[in-house]
Subunit: 351 residues, 2 copies
């Protein structure tokens, strides 16, 4: 029988419907394949992007916007928002609008065109998280911004228009609706319990031990109780921290290690599956919230978002998170090859 | 310069970013093409679906589940929820869950495999809305249900797995998050202004007259001020009504006429564009809300929902609703052919 589950933070309901997993059209993986061709993010093509705002790895004295880098951050050539000017809030009768002020940057995660988050060394993953922290800290100085979202689209089916591994950062002059919901949901819980709901989730997950994918001393990756999609994962600091940009160097290393492992497990389970990653953190100038907990959400693209999801905010998920977590957890990363991938174990997964 | 706009009902922000409309990958229409093959929804194949719960158009005395119908409603063969049993709400530590009780039906809108909402006669559209009303009224008698959502996915890119024109109905034991947000947003407005926010929107739109697509005595179709996608439209009763299933026969006819025109305009502007339609109405047993207003939302599938939208609930829309509305409004429905379609006028649209 299908099950209805409620996300404890924002109150979103999902239908965990194993029966629907049996529909052949419900579980088709659109594998991402490297097509090649001219890549504006590759070394040697630095002139194709706007001038960089951050770069790691070049030798001392090497000029900017040339090769030799191991990670590069550049403004998006087609920004969704503009960084020049002021908000100029105004009304049009009952409606509110303002200028589209913001910053839109691209984090070129690696010089290697064929590298992915699953294949890159931990050191490269560390550079990525270090660049997130650096850019978030720098942009938080701009009074016009209230929130910074970092996200990654991997694969065309997940919305990536370039195949070279990259993340994006958008600084916004307003706090977006989904984050507001998370903040107010976790605040309500705190008012009632005087505890952080995410800390309580981690505590319960560690005692139940049925939805944990992997963990180390500082971080934990789990499949949430009410996931929107099969193999959705959340990666969270075990101790209470509401703001990602406040992360320490040693925590950053620990995160890079666990996140690397997480992405390797996902890739072994569902080779080259398209996915989205979103960094959820507290708004700018609200760095120390006792009720909120920063985390990364990983959403593999395995199901379609259609009229039902649009209309309701309800999601139909054909795979219980306990099964997703078990598959991801049981993968032996030391064993080479994809013999234990879900492509061959699909029948077991959805039966 | 891009513009930030706030939806007045739920507070969702969108970026109206004409600059991004220029990216070639941003505005590709995946046209739906009829592929043919065996269709379980076609006349003669009635045995392929579960037994019908409603049918219109058969001659008196003709047996059910055979041909001769002009519209048919059947249970979904792969239901997301099950109609047998009780909710049995329970907790798992801090989590809430219950049995996945609900009803999932398919409205087979026409016997003609190649008919669409844009090509069918008004009489056929009327049957569709009549069947919505009938099924909603019938299912509202079941105490286990709190909300009924009706939606339609047209085209594979919009999530349709069958090409034969159909809508879907899901009766839910909980009120979904998006509807809750709309209800609480419009309630807050009412508490402050003592007026329905949707009535105020209609009043302002009729006086501004820049986002109206078409209207008749009883209904109006407009492009909302803060649309999530290019050519998003809302179709609403002009008088205050919160509950769709309470609609009168004459209103139903009027709706069928305006909705037919709306779908014809969309199809002429963007031939065979995939889309989602969602019916937003008040919860069951809350039929007469002075602060809420039922409406249909039409979302053409022209942009990608990726990490940014997932993470934030923020949408980037490359086409201002004033432009969408003007294009849709200026189409001459008496002129045959697609010479004024946006496929040929694309440059003007996004320049």
């Amino acid at each position: 029988m299908p099950e209805l589950r409620r996300d404890p933070v924002i109150g979103r309901w999902v239908i965990i419907s194993k029966e629907r997993g049996k529909r052949p059209s419900d579980f088709v993986i659109v594998q991402e394949r490297i097509k090649g061709g001219y890549c504006p993010l590759c070394p040697g093509n630095e002139h194709s992007t706007p001038p960089e705002v951050l770069a790691y790895g070049r030798e001392k004295g090497a000029p900017p916007n040339g090769p030799g880098w191991s990670l590069r951050v550049v403004p998006n050539k087609y920004p969704a928002l503009t960084s020049e000017g002021n908000l100029d809030k105004r009304t049009e009768g009952i409606y509110d609008k303002s200028n589209g002020i913001g910053t839109h940057e691209v984090i070129i995660e690696t010089p290697r065109h064929d590298e992915t988050m699953a294949s890159m060394p931990v050191d490269q993953m560390l550079l990525i998280f270090r660049s997130y922290r650096a850019r978030m800290q720098a942009l938080a100085q701009d009074d016009r911004f209230k929130f910074i979202i970092i996200f990654k689209n991997f694969g065309q089916a997940a919305g990536a228009s370039l195949e070279h591994s990259h993340s994006q950062l958008i600084a916004l002059p307003v706090v977006p609706l989904n984050i507001k919901q998370e903040l107010s949901g976790s605040m309500r819980y705190f008012e009632f319990k005087e505890r952080c709901i995410f800390c309580d989730i981690i505590r319960q997950e560690r005692s139940q031990n049925i939805r944990i994918v992997c963990e180390n001393d500082d971080f934990i990756t789990l499949c949430p109780f009410a996931p929107r999609s099969p193999f959705e994962m959340w990666c969270m600091p075990k101790d209470h921290h509401s703001s990602f940009p406040e992360i320490s160097d040693s925590q950053l290393e620990s995160l890079a290690r666990l996140f690397s492992e997480t992405m390797q497990r996902l890739d072994r389970a569902l080779p080259k599956v398209p996915y989205n990653i979103m960094l959820h953190t507290s708004p700018i100038r609200e760095e120390n919230l006792e009720y909120y907990h920063w985390h990364l959400e990983i959403m593999p693209k395995l199901t379609m978002v259609a009229g039902f999801e649009w209309g309701t905010g309800f999601y139909i998920n054909p795979t219980p998170p306990e099964e997703s977590a078990r598959f991801l957890r049981e993968i032996d990363l030391n064993k080479k090859g994809t013999s234990d991938s879900l492509l061959s174990r699909k029948e077991r997964l959805i039966s």
